[in-house]
């Protein structure tokens, strides 16, 4: 699975202005709503569910990245939104550091293998220091899209 196929290009915020985790999650979800990937009627429920999942165990896995996610029956294909926050957000991350890059990932509930493939794509990139650094430095949607494309074709050196 390629990042560029799951990341909704209209749902990339290179300069997110959010000061809390829950604000950031809502902003990411709103981009997916505006892009037509999440129904307006699902918005509140989805946000609540992502936050609930986050409260059970942070998806701030360290190194300034977080991957809040949700599996939902009404989600038909895997979609992701990306936000970059220069100031950093407290995600209760495992390493205690603020989070600068957030991937919100929504997957269909009945296809766990799709969710795992999406996670593989996301972490295949996020586990590389080069990718994390470039992502954090990106200031336009175009730069993020270029980076995702490079990552998909493994053009980044480790």
């Amino acid at each position: 699975m390629k990042l560029i196929d799951i990341v909704v290009q209209d749902a990339i915020a290179p300069t997110l202005a959010a000061s809390t985790r829950d604000e950031a999650i809502a902003a990411l979800m709103d981009m997916l709503v505006d892009a037509g990937k999440v129904g307006q009627s699902d918005r509140d429920e989805f946000i609540k569910a992502v936050i609930k999942r986050e409260n059970r165990g942070s998806t701030g896995f360290g190194n300034g990245v977080a991957v809040p996610h949700l599996k939902q029956a009404s989600v038909k294909t895997v979609v992701a939104a990306i936000a970059i926050c220069a100031e950093g957000i407290d995600f209760n991350a495992l390493d205690g550091n603020p989070v600068h890059s957030i991937f919100l990932l929504l997957s269909p509930e009945d296809q766990p293998e799709l969710h795992l493939e999406a996670m593989e794509a996301v972490f295949g990139s996020l586990s590389q220091e080069t990718f994390r650094r470039f992502l954090r430095q990106a200031s336009t949607v175009k730069e993020v899209v270029t980076l995702l494309t490079d990552a998909d074709t493994r053009q980044l050196s480790a």
Binding site: R56, G62, P112, E113, M119, E120, F123, L126, S127
Partner: protein, 93 residues
């Protein structure tokens, strides 16, 4: 004396190695002193079992065979404990 140990185990929970199981595996692996790796039986290279991100990169679905390997004084115990977690399906449905 450094010892090594390894064991094959199948992913049994329906959702596979998603975030929560990956975190449980990593947290457990971190308790052991030596290197601990986890590898898909159908792939050549293992990943660091102490890293959630690397475990997630295995995309191990239900039914995937894993090889858990460890080195160090507590290698045997590490492999045993991690394999038991996987075999028990991480106490998920």
């Amino acid at each position: 004396m450094t010892t090594t140990a390894q064991q094959k185990v199948k992913v049994t929970n329906r959702l596979g190695l998603h975030a929560r199981p990956a975190m449980l595996l990593a947290e457990t692996a971190q308790r052991f002193g030596g290197d601990v790796t986890v590898q898909r039986a159908d792939q050549d290279n293992g990943v660091d079992a102490k890293s959630i991100m690397q475990i997630m990169m295995l995309a191990a679905t239900a039914g995937t065979e894993l090889i858990i390997a460890a080195t160090g004084d507590d290698a045997e115990a590490a492999v045993k404990e991690l394999a038991a977690l996987v075999a028990a399906g991480f106490d998920e449905a």
